[in-house]
Symmetry: C2
Subunit: 681 residues, 2 copies
Amino acid sequence: MKTKSYVYGEWVEGTGDGVQLFHAVNGSPLTSISSDGVHFSRVLDYGRETGGVALRELSIHQRAAALRALAKHLLSRKESLYAASKATGATKADAWIDIEGGIATLSGYASLSTREFSNEKFIVEGPPERLSRNNTFAARHILVSKRGVSVHINAYNFPCWGMLEKIAPSLVAGVPVVVKPASDSAYLTCAMVQEIVASRILPEGSLQLICGSTGDLLDHLSEQDVVTFTGSASTGRMLRSHPNIISKSIPFNMEADSLNSCILGESVSVTDPEFSLFIEEVAKEMTIKAGQKCTAIRRIIVPAAMLHEVQNALVKRLSRVVIGDPEEEGVHMGPLLGAAQKKDVHANVLALAKHCEIVAGGDENFELVGKAACKGAFYPPTLLLCKNPLEVDAPHSIEVFGPVSTLMPYNNIEEAITLVAMGRGSLVSSVFTYNNEEAASLILESAAWHGRMLVINRDCAEESTGHGSPLPNLVHGGPGRAGGGEELGGVRAVKHYMQRTSIQASPDTLMAITREYMSGATTTHTDIHPFRKYFEELLIGESLVTHRRTVTEADIVNFGCLTGDHFYAHFDEIAARDSLFGKRVAHGYFIISAAAGMFVEPAPGPVLANYGLENLRFIEPVGIGDTIRAKLTAKKKIKKDKRPGEDQATGVVVWDVEVSNQDNKIVALYDILTLVVQKQA
Amino acid sequence: MKTKSYVYGEWVEGTGDGVQLFHAVNGSPLTSISSDGVHFSRVLDYGRETGGVALRELSIHQRAAALRALAKHLLSRKESLYAASKATGATKADAWIDIEGGIATLSGYASLSTREFSNEKFIVEGPPERLSRNNTFAARHILVSKRGVSVHINAYNFPCWGMLEKIAPSLVAGVPVVVKPASDSAYLTCAMVQEIVASRILPEGSLQLICGSTGDLLDHLSEQDVVTFTGSASTGRMLRSHPNIISKSIPFNMEADSLNSCILGESVSVTDPEFSLFIEEVAKEMTIKAGQKCTAIRRIIVPAAMLHEVQNALVKRLSRVVIGDPEEEGVHMGPLLGAAQKKDVHANVLALAKHCEIVAGGDENFELVGKAACKGAFYPPTLLLCKNPLEVDAPHSIEVFGPVSTLMPYNNIEEAITLVAMGRGSLVSSVFTYNNEEAASLILESAAWHGRMLVINRDCAEESTGHGSPLPNLVHGGPGRAGGGEELGGVRAVKHYMQRTSIQASPDTLMAITREYMSGATTTHTDIHPFRKYFEELLIGESLVTHRRTVTEADIVNFGCLTGDHFYAHFDEIAARDSLFGKRVAHGYFIISAAAGMFVEPAPGPVLANYGLENLRFIEPVGIGDTIRAKLTAKKKIKKDKRPGEDQATGVVVWDVEVSNQDNKIVALYDILTLVVQKQA
């Protein structure tokens, strides 16, 4: 049976024989794969016209809600995915990272997108930019969905996570996806896509799957499309220089395997907890997924004085790793994905061995647990030692995509920094030390070469998510050899699929475009107090100018006595005269409290609470005898869905507050956040 | 005399004959240019080793101060630059954009970098990311200077601005620059660099200049270098696919000439102010710098019903443009840069004329003012008309880099949006309408194709900075044909020259690296109140836990009476019972005021003022009888330079404030901003 593609709303079986795939553990034939006969230009058009249009009809929160529902659905179907993953040779722990880690990334994006973005179809970024003296001409930055598709060309090692971590931000951005998993494990991606398609949660056309080669897909890309790639540097280079990608300036994001490092700090002794944490992390990262991880530790950088101890401890630790059929009890490490991968790993170990000494593994002498296991795809944990790593390039440039790592000594911190940089760009590096000064200098001097770095010590090790795990809210990627790209990083990845545009116009026009009030825009006024209006009834720009209040000496005295704040600027005539203010002034907190006193409506109404305040600046001091008033303007509305258990649906209303004095000078400026009830709920 | 390069600390004259350059107005020989003999790998090494190291020793504010001083210096030398610019054929207005616009960009970056960034050598981006239940393991994002050089390959049309707008963010980022201006006007860039070098304001090695070809420069780039390019799409494509740039994943930012459009709204009638504003802007953008501007209007998109009126008005307006030697009184438009440019412009006009009708200009029949003027480089304002623009690609794809634009009609707003998109990516588009709904739909549907858009109407026209002007705080660039890059945009451009890295560690380690306190990090305590400490004496993480205060019914009553805030949740027992809170609670403003009452020191001291407050969230309600206390922790320090006229140097201290109740539950969380005096000042 062939692994099918899901394109233009159909499951399509490729023509021809296709490529035969085998079970990683026992070597038996599994499925074949071919995309011959798929019309790639039709795939792209279908994505753009069916998926793109449908996604752009949803708001960002609606797209996030679809991801949340999808994550829930996939979690309910996880057993079938675990079953399908066995053929890849994954242990249960390996499969957990891929399947449940991937699903968690999906729900992570659902949450962060709802939290960080407004419930609109576009994103407004940053504050208004003032461009003119009278503020009749200003600017804002917005991001809108690209009008194309995003094509994701993924690696074989994470058939599920690799797809989900990329489709999540793209779908939130409103951009449909075409997923092209690496052929070798595409059947597992396909199993997950079957669940996704069957669920009908995503709008039709927003996700297509190509199992097999990409054919002439890239030739049909256009200026609004986006390509992301995860895999080997050589394939990445080829794709990045594709004439159509170059000529249309198509964004190309690449995340390539790199020679990630792990550094043992100079300050760590054998008896420190950091020493054993280091040994454990290195061994773990060498053997999880049999080292087939782009973030695995390939270079182990330790103080020269500790080389012997580290080597002994690591060799001992690795000797305890049980290799075999992951179905068998007690097995720690499964096979590589196939015989081809093993051949590649062994060839690279031999290449490294020309410059380094093999101190563990590296040959066929290892025990295998489980009768079904086929020796063809297994490889033992292999440790090499390079004694002169500053002079030899091999361990910094030959990446062995398996359970293989090279140990190398350094003599001082500058040497350690140089060694790390010799990888010429990595996804991740970790530092083990309990000395925070040492950590800070290693991090600040090495960060330019990495997309992610960790410092592990006794305080954080237990809760650490580990060297090898990219997280949805953290940037993942790295410069140079790691591909120069950036994935994840929370909202950053969503923006990658959108176009950022600066918009210059009058404040009124900007308010109409962004649906956010800004200073200079026209405010409107009705006879009904805005706090008496339901969420739906409120218009952006709707405003209330309060009555006035003269601030008296009695106010200052009463406020100071009530709050206990007797700061000299309010109470000491002599010191106040020499102060910034030149006189006694009212408490800033009094000004905002009195402003609330002027704009708050006492009786119950749709405004449930003022739960926060942002960007408060005291602009001018308020002296005794000054008369203040407040202007409250509905600035931004974020509609929220009614959650299970809630009586009423609500929304967030952000109000712009300006407190001014008798000379119409603004004395305080801030935003308040309120929760307002929806009428229709 | 040859135009020299400034490399490895020397002014170097290229060997060989070089390329001869001519005066744009009178065609006389001017200078020649050659970079033969320049050792390009030495240029890069010198930048990395001398310039990079020196720049990275400065804090971001120190780098910004250098830019501020440089802008001041260049402004004092502007007359010599205006004199040198005459040979390019620029009018005074053209030269003003290039020279003073460039200098303003420099000082713009000095200001925004001081305002937006801390005074450190790195940038901390975004809030802490919580990663674990007990918060022993968390993350932050930092950006550090790339360890390479940035190579800026610039266009001939803005020899000064083109250099300054790119070096400003790179230098703020701590990355030395190698500037390679287009040969044709490199003498003007060189004149400015002579002033920069002579001023000795920038650290040696931070700015090098290559006049002539780039030789084998690109072959020597490494993973930490950055390339930016402004110019034609064809050159950009060639550079972007350079094998060394591809293989090392070197960031390549491209800004290419594009077919920018200007749209007259459907709602505009001939008598509306927007009609004449539109005609004026189009004519201006066609003729400033003789149309040699990557942001010039190339496509004029108007309602079919208005085509005739627009054509007549434009032809009439263009006929008033006086062409000639910019030295002569009353001249509006000078020559193109040279005969080669003119030949190119004319060839492209002929290519367009196969599909469009020439309705103004396009030939040799035009008057030239000034005896010195050499007809070779002048070209008249030329208007073409394309009646079927949806069917013809030429006016959307042939860019004429001169005073040339094509008029085209649309029948409805969807057609207008389609026509705009047919440019396949532009730097900028402007919309003329007084109807904000029309504006919003045109902008939101077209933004995906642009880096910048404007809406001009009667309210903002007078203060508008115009269709053609990129501004330092706004994104400049565009997708597709415009190169897919992003320049300027305020802090965004600075970050382009830095590496973003997520750092995972314990809160204490993160505090040591970022020099910012975060929740979960260890706080320290001394016997001296932190408000009694000078800026330098305060340590990050230094903390004060206040005495306690029981909140009473009297407090609520007094606070309500004093402020006038009688909201039912504080005063109406019956309504409060049914509210979110279930009982009467204290005013949120009372809580933060009482907290200040507990932590403020009454007597004069180093803390001059609490000038702002950020990120306030009321987490738990405080009821009658609850007992609160505050914890104040020094979170972040931003040292400021003493400005002329200030008595004392100060710094900003951001304090983390946690107000908690008797159960150690946090009731309110916020940051306060204070101005604190420096001791040594």
